[in-house]
Symmetry: C2
Subunit: 200 residues, 2 copies
């Protein structure tokens, strides 16, 4: 009857792994944490980890999920829903920027996984979706205020802004810029281009 016992234990073990990941990844970094370390910390055997996650990367994404939850909630409050669109976008992205790069290595791996995942996992897509949803909301509101062209599709608008944000981040990782100020300034220029249009 009760197949709930199994389900429940599975959930507990899964949490134990993610919790170990949050701890060890944060403390020692992704590369320096082995699957065996995680297993030991979670009190299970190494290969059991693979019943819960297909690959190490997947654990990383679950780890991100936890961290994101916090970051996104904290963020909602910071964005003023009636500020000009560009300010809202700038605030949103710079907050995310600070969170994502709070650990450089962490940010790099996360961005790689989100943009160019090895396999299309629901988790990667989910992370993405969260951004696109948050943006979509802001955009809908901006349309209502008559700030942007209403005929444009929210998905492509969100994607557009999101890519500009990632461009600013990439500038950091490739060494084009190095300070938060530079990233912020660059991002603002790009957002302005998008809003005002590039063509004469």
């Amino acid at each position: 009857m009760t197949n709930g016992k199994r389900q429940q234990n599975k959930e507990i073990t899964r949490r134990a792994i993610v919790s170990a990941a949050v701890d060890l990844f944060s403390r020692n970094g992704y590369e320096k944490t082995s699957i065996e370390d995680l297993a030991k910390a979670a009190g299970i055997g190494k290969s059991t980890v693979y019943t819960y996650f297909k690959a190490k990367e997947e654990i990383f994404l679950a780890f991100c999920d936890e961290e994101f939850e916090y970051s996104f909630t904290a963020l909602r409050d910071r964005v003023d829903a009636d500020a000009p669109l560009i300010e809202q976008l700038h605030t949103l992205f710079m907050s995310q920027y600070e969170f994502v790069t709070s650990n450089r290595e962490f940010g790099r791996i996360l961005l790689r996984e989100i943009l160019f995942p090895k396999t299309v996992t629901s988790l990667a897509k989910q992370s993405n979706q969260r951004y696109l949803d948050a943006l979509g909301e802001i955009l809908t509101h901006a349309k209502e205020r008559g700030e942007i062209r209403p005929e444009l599709d929210n998905f492509f608008l969100s994607a557009h802004f999101f890519m500009l944000y990632l461009g600013a981040l990439s500038g950091l990782y490739t060494g084009y810029v190095s300070t938060t100020e530079e990233v912020g300034a660059g991002l603002r220029i790009l957002l302005n281009q998008a809003l005002q249009g590039i063509a004469l």
Copy 2:
């Protein structure tokens, strides 16, 4: 005296490794080619490879450099310098798109390294620069024709378009789109948004 002998041999060996990489990566793919395979093909010992490259990824970037040379040259001819800007950009990017995704795995690794490199190597920056330069040329020409706002900075314009291109590519890798046609259509929408502007 002659410390040239050593230098010269080093260069020869380096070339041998890259040449082996071009051959084996193309034929069997990146993951399926082991360092030992490369070493054997280059006629050296496995660990000697590490005197020339810090990691496998670095060999991959050297490999890309070779391949890009060809791809970029072939491309110049295809772009009509007097077509409307959006057509030029679309042609440029779709050609690159086809080249980059001719092997899905290859494209994925390349894009990761270009956007979010583990270490800022000159190679990654160089690849990037090549794109930005090619774009800069097109943009300068477009300014002369009066097609775009002349006060905008070429670097940020190039970066903007480049990111939209990468967004389209990312859509492929994350599963938002799956055919070349869809990528092309999505890219066109994004380019249009950038050119026409998003704001009312």
